[in-house]
Every structure is written in structure tokens, then in C-alpha cells.
């Protein structure tokens, strides 16, 4: 396995540059839904970027749009997705197919539905190697075995012959990661890769991802609802709400001093293992479905404890604020306690 020397983490040129991405779903006879609305972010080589949000935040749709995996009917995708300077959204389909898998790989939440249930793991992994790496027969099989071993699957020779249902959830997710890595991608997009797994298995998978990013110099986009996962893994974090980024910052800045009331509210509402017992939780009132349409005002306004009249007067802009970007008219003060 190739182990590149750790390059300087932050090269100036971004590997992935998402600019003003928007995704609109139109259903026949139904309302149009803007699932992703002007999302911009960059991923530099070797960087790990987190997209955090609850259901309906648009985080998964963003990743699917980047990979051009959304159905074409009833979906409009706008903006640009520059990968190495090429706009993925306008690339011919066959070139996109080459990039998918070879340069960008994706790992999904449910490993079972991402694997073909009637084909042994080994064949599925070698297939990828044969298609993108030009390996043949025995060489490909040996490479597949090595990959499985590398992602921590014990006894890979035997596992190669097994079908997906014979593997546990954690093992399946490892197999998927092995397939994603088969082509030494430069960018790995992981969409809730540990949500279906137990915590001890989750810890194994996250360690594995960390290690792989470090060893191969690939970039990682981690999509999750779990702030804890992001805190230990990502260099930069984008918090999404109702299709837009509401706050972006380095993880230390974001977790140390959340400025958007939504970020702060999320942090105050999850019980922390290391917090003194009896510390009260401060839930965010309402539910993620109680949103205001962004063109009328801030989508979070209906649930926001810091709401001003201006918040429902028009859409707040994503402003650059030194160490972060923030979409809020009345952010939390630095080091302010989150209001109960």
C-alpha cells in the first residue's frame, strides 16, 4: 500500500470548490422544494471537512449533488462544483463516471443497501480494482485481499468469498470503505458512515478513517448529525440548517465559541458524557420542520431564542467574521451562556 508522506496540510489550491450550489426538487403537482440553497465550501487536499445538520438540513443532498448522483427528473442543480478546476456539474457523463470511484469515492450510511447482496464481497472489490486500476485476475484478487486487511477485516481471504449478509454491520462498512479506497481516491465523501453502527464499532471506523486520511493524504468530507463525531475528526465544520450553511469555522472555534444560536442550541441540548451530572439540558424548542422559508427571513427564526424583528424581515447573509462565517443578525456573544 502506498503511503505518501504527509504533505503540508493546507495547500492554497482547493481540491474541491463548491460554489453557490443549489438543488431544487419539483414534484408533479406538488410544491417545489429547495433542499440546498446557495451552499459554498472548499476542501483542500488532506483536509477533513464536516457537514453537520439534522434531517432536512440538506447535507446529504449536497453530497449527492457533488457526486451527480441525484435523479435527473424533477431535480434542478445550480451553481458550480469545481474538482481540480473542472466543473463536475457540466462534465460529460462518461468523464464524470471516471472521476467517480477513481478520484472521488463515497461511503453511505447503510452498508447493506450499498452492496450487491448476491455477489461475494471479493468480486465486488476486485471489480472496482479491475475497472479503475487496470489490475487483472490474480493480481486484482491479491490487491483486494490486501485492501480488506488494511481496513481491519480479519482473515480477508475467507471474507472475500462471503456474501454481504454474512458480514456484520461494522465489517460491511469496512468492506465498503475498502471498495471506496480501492482506487486511491483523492476525495472521500462519507455520508453518515457510522450512524447505523454501535459506538464501539463507530469508534473503530472513525479511527480507520482518520488513519486513512493521514496515510493516503486524501481529503474527507464527513456528513453527519453527530456533533461528537465531528469534534474529534474534522478540521473545518459547516453547520447546515434548512438547506443553507448557517455557520462555518474551524472545529475548535466552532465548538469553543458557537456563535449561531442554532449551533449553540445544538451543543446545549445534547447531554455530554463528561458534563457534571444534573446539569440541565436546554432543548431547542419546536422541531426542524418548523422552518421559515429562507427568502422571507432566517429559517431558524421560529425556534430561535435570539430572534429579532429583523430576522423575519429578510434573509440574513453569510458574513465573514474573522475566524468564521456566520449567517445571523443577532449571534450569541462570545462566551455567552446559551439562553435557557
Amino acid at each position: 500500500m502506498r503511503v505518501t508522506d504527509s504533505e503540508p496540510l493546507l495547500r492554497s489550491e482547493p481540491l474541491l470548490d463548491v460554489r453557490d450550489l443549489s438543488v431544487t426538487f419539483t414534484r408533479k403537482g406538488g410544491p417545489t422544494v429547495r433542499a440546498v440553497d446557495g451552499v459554498s465550501f472548499t476542501v483542500r487536499p488532506g483536509e477533513t471537512v464536516g457537514l453537520v445538520g439534522e434531517s432536512g438540513s440538506g447535507k446529504s443532498v449536497t453530497s449527492l449533488a457533488v457526486m451527480r448522483l441525484l435523479p435527473r427528473r424533477g431535480v434542478q442543480v445550480g451553481g458550480q462544483v469545481l474538482f481540480d478546476g473542472d466543473d463536475l456539474l457540466t462534465l460529460p457523463r462518461d468523464r464524470m463516471r471516471d472521476i467517480r470511484g477513481r478520484d472521488i469515492a463515497m461511503v453511505f450510511q447503510d452498508p447493506m443497501s450499498s452492496l450487491n447482496p448476491v455477489v461475494p464481497i471479493g468480486i465486488q472489490v476486485t471489480e472496482v480494482l479491475e475497472r479503475h486500476q487496470d489490475l487483472k485476475g490474480e493480481t486484482a484478487r491479491a490487491a483486494a485481499e490486501e485492501l480488506l486487511f488494511r481496513v481491519g477485516i480479519p482473515d480477508p481471504r475467507r471474507r472475500l468469498k462471503e456474501y454481504p449478509h454474512q458480514l456484520s454491520g461494522g465489517m460491511r462498512q469496512r468492506a465498503l470503505i475498502a471498495m471506496a479506497l480501492a482506487c486511491k481516491p483523492r476525495l472521500l465523501i462519507a455520508d453518515e458512515p457510522t450512524t447505523a453502527l454501535d459506538v464501539t464499532i463507530q469508534a473503530q471506523i472513525i479511527e480507520l478513517l482518520k488513519e486513512l486520511v493521514q496515510d493516503t493524504g486524501a481529503s474527507l468530507v464527513m456528513i453527519t448529525h453527530d456533533l461528537g463525531v465531528v469534534a474529534g475528526l474534522c478540521d473545518t465544520v459547516h453547520v447546515m440548517y434548512s438547506g443553507r450553511i448557517v455557520e462555518s469555522a474551524g472545529r475548535r472555534e466552532l465548538f469553543g465559541e458557537p456563535r449561531h444560536p442554532y449551533t449553540g442550541g445544538l451543543l446545549a441540548s445534547v447531554p455530554r458524557l463528561d458534563a457534571p451530572r444534573g446539569a440541565p439540558l436546554h432543548p431547542i424548542p419546536g422541531s426542524p420542520t418548523d422552518v421559515l422559508s429562507w427568502h422571507k427571513g432566517c429559517a431558524f427564526a421560529p425556534r430561535c431564542p435570539n430572534r429579532l424583528d429583523a430576522c423575519i424581515g429578510g434573509p440574513p447573509r453569510l458574513e465573514s467574521l474573522g475566524d468564521r462565517s456566520l449567517r445571523c443578525l443577532n449571534p450569541l456573544e462570545q462566551n455567552e451562556e446559551v439562553p435557557a
Binding site: I206, E211, A231, G256, L281
Partner: protein
């Protein structure tokens, strides 16, 4: 395993404080095989000898990963799954001895809150009907409409919710309906099986707070089953950790988190991500090897020894450890590990391959010991 009743809790059981007492509980699901004539070829030992006391008015948390048997244990206590051995004593009633109408009436005292609020509500039933169903089932008269309004109010839903159907609510609201249904009969015990894990992060705290509020208001006793240690730690007074059908550690919440004694508890706690980069970057993780063994064919001796980073060449593989107290810890803190004292004192260290040190120090593993 089932006949051994640990001494410390024997006198505790006699005290009026214990609402529910479980002894040697086993739930074994038969594995049948055969084409024409089915015969039993083995059994899945989902719950395999559990002792547990739930004090009146307290919250006991039961944590463990999927497949450890925690949900089955909860359901066996409520007789929604039939235990195959052991006793369940509620107050002074032997729950396992009840049958038919007696059992049905007993259910009034013990209710359940489910994980998936959508699946646990009949999609064709409106809220009025959902909440008055328990009243009808137990022949409780009076003004059901008024009672439903009252229940809705208690769980923080408007009275207008009564005429709506489950799909018209958000996940958090549905779980409130599920909770309202559980308290409709004014039960003494509520078993909450993963009450928040299906909910959005920002909603979970609402439901946790509601459960706590109801406990204060109605004097409820809870058994909260969850895989999320942080939630359990927040809500429970006493936490029991379950692994592969048995309890491995049980302690007052604070003690458990301050000084986990069992290797599995340690690993579990170190695996829970904490939303704080400063903590995440400095903590040491204990990674477990492999997956949960099959409950149809559990390991001999200590169930955990196949994955335990502290495994010793003696005893672990032969002798099944019982829950016991450890010198220097409260009597209520009990652990099922032969080597708990040595591990705590640092005389036994975890296998180096299982320990992941904080980030900057970590180097890519050159040669993880091959299993081939």
C-alpha cells in the same frame, strides 16, 4: 447462573423501597430447524441470567450495544416476551406467575415507551382514540375527552391534537403522544426502550426533559434502555451495563462514570464521542477488536473475554464472573470481572494494540498483528 442470588441485594429486596426485582432472568429463543418435523437445535441466549433491582421512584438506566439483549430484558420484565427462567417481582406480585386476566390487569402498573414513535402508533387511529384506548381497555369511566385533554396538556401538546392523526405530527410530538399513552393509566413503572434515539438531535433533549418532569410530577419509576451512554448518564440514578445477555457492571451513575471498573464499560465510555475538540484531542481510546459474538453460541467463561483488551490467561476463559463488590467502592457498585482490582490499580494494562493515544502522537500502525 439463574439460581445464584448475590448476597448484597437479598436484604435490599425485602425493603419496601424496591419496586421491581429481577432475579436470574433468562430469555432463550429456540432455534428450530428441519423440513418436515421441526426440532430445536439450539437457542439464542438473548438474556442469560440477569439480576436487577429498580428502587421506587428511581431511574435505572440499562446500556449496551445492539444485540446485547437489553430490549429483550425490558420486554421480558413486561411479559411482552416470555422469560424462560427466573423471577420478576413487582411490589409483592410475582409477575411471571400471572396469566390471562390477572396479567392483563397487572399491565396497568407497568407501561412502555417505544423507540420509534411512528411505528408504535396505529396510523389509522387519531390521538383521541390512541389515548382513550387504555382507559377503555381497563374499564375506566368518566369523561375520556377531558382526560385526553389533560394528558395532552401534561406532555405539552395542544388540546386540538386530539383529532389529528399520527402522521400529522413531527417525530418529537409523536413521542410525546407515546409518552401520554404510557402515563394514561397512571402506572408505577415505565420501561422506556430507546425513547430518544429515533429523534433529531435538537428534539432529544425535549423528550428527556419531559420524562424527568413527569417523574417528579407523577412519582414514576423508570427503566430507561438506551445505547447512548450520555443520555443514560444524564437521566439515570443507577446504570447497569449489559453485554451479551448479562450485566457486567452496575453502579450509581456518578460512580460508574467516575470510576468504571469493567473493561467493557471503559471501552464503551472511551468510544462515546464528546462534542468538544479539546477533550477529543486529549483523550485516550480503548478500541475493541471485532464484533459481538453470537448469542446463540456465547463464549465460555467471561462473555467479554474474546474482545477484552485486559484479558488474562487464567480464569477469563473458564469461569463466568458474577457481579460483586470491589473494595474501595460503594456496595452499590458491582462489577462482573475477575480482575477488576488489578485493572483499577494499574497492575494489568490493556493490550497496546487496543489503545489509541491522542492524535498528534499517533503514528500509522506499521504492522497490525495479522489474524491470518
Amino acid at each position: 447462573m439463574s439460581d445464584q442470588v448475590p448476597a448484597p441485594s437479598a436484604e435490599k429486596r425485602a425493603s419496601a423501597d424496591v419496586l421491581l426485582s429481577v432475579r436470574g432472568l433468562e430469555v432463550h429463543f429456540p432455534i428450530r430447524s428441519g423440513i418436515v418435523v421441526e426440532r430445536q437445535v439450539g437457542s439464542v441466549k438473548a438474556v442469560d441470567g440477569v439480576d436487577l433491582d429498580i428502587p421506587r421512584g428511581a431511574t435505572v438506566g440499562l446500556v449496551g450495544e445492539s444485540g446485547c439483549g437489553k430490549s429483550t430484558l425490558g420486554r421480558a420484565i413486561l411479559r411482552l416476551v416470555e422469560p424462560t427462567a427466573g423471577t420478576v417481582t413487582f411490589g409483592d406480585v410475582d409477575v411471571r406467575a400471572l396469566a390471562g386476566e390477572d396479567l392483563r390487569r397487572m399491565r396497568r402498573q407497568m407501561q412502555m415507551v417505544f423507540q420509534d414513535p411512528m411505528a408504535s402508533l396505529d396510523p389509522r387511529q387519531n390521538v383521541q382514540s390512541v389515548l382513550s384506548e387504555p382507559l377503555r381497555a381497563h374499564g375506566i369511566g368518566g369523561d375520556h375527552r377531558a382526560r385526553v385533554r389533560e394528558l395532552l396538556d401534561v406532555v405539552g401538546l395542544p388540546a386540538s391534537a386530539a383529532n389529528r392523526y399520527p402522521h400529522e405530527f413531527s417525530g418529537g410530538q409523536r413521542q410525546r403522544i407515546g409518552i401520554a399513552r404510557a402515563i394514561a393509566l397512571e402506572p408505577q413503572l415505565i420501561v422506556a426502550d430507546e425513547p430518544v434515539s429515533a429523534l433529531d438531535v435538537s428534539i432529544q433533549a425535549q423528550v428527556v426533559n419531559l420524562l424527568e418532569e413527569l417523574q417528579d410530577r407523577l412519582g414514576l419509576t423508570y427503566l430507561v434502555i438506551a445505547h447512548d451512554l450520555a443520555v443514560v448518564r444524564h437521566i439515570a440514578d443507577v446504570v447497569a451495563v449489559m453485554y451479551l445477555g448479562g450485566l457486567v457492571e452496575q453502579a450509581p451513575s456518578d460512580d460508574l462514570y467516575a470510576t468504571p471498573l469493567h473493561p467493557y464499560t471503559k471501552a464503551l465510555m472511551s468510544a462515546v464521542p464528546i462534542p468538544d475538540p479539546v477533550v477529543e484531542d486529549t483523550r485516550q481510546r480503548i478500541l475493541l477488536q471485532g464484533d459481538l459474538p453470537s448469542p446463540a453460541d456465547p463464549p465460555t467463561g467471561c462473555r467479554f473475554h474474546t474482545r477484552c483488551p485486559f484479558r488474562q490467561p487464567t480464569r477469563c476463559a473458564e469461569e463466568r464472573p458474577l457481579l460483586r463488590t470491589v473494595a474501595g467502592h460503594a456496595d452499590a457498585h458491582r462489577v462482573a470481572c475477575h480482575w477488576a482490582e488489578d485493572i483499577e490499580a494499574g497492575r494489568i494494562l490493556p493490550a497496546a494494540s487496543a489503545v489509541v493515544d491522542p492524535d498528534p502522537v499517533r503514528e500509522p500502525d506499521p504492522q497490525p498483528d495479522p489474524a491470518t
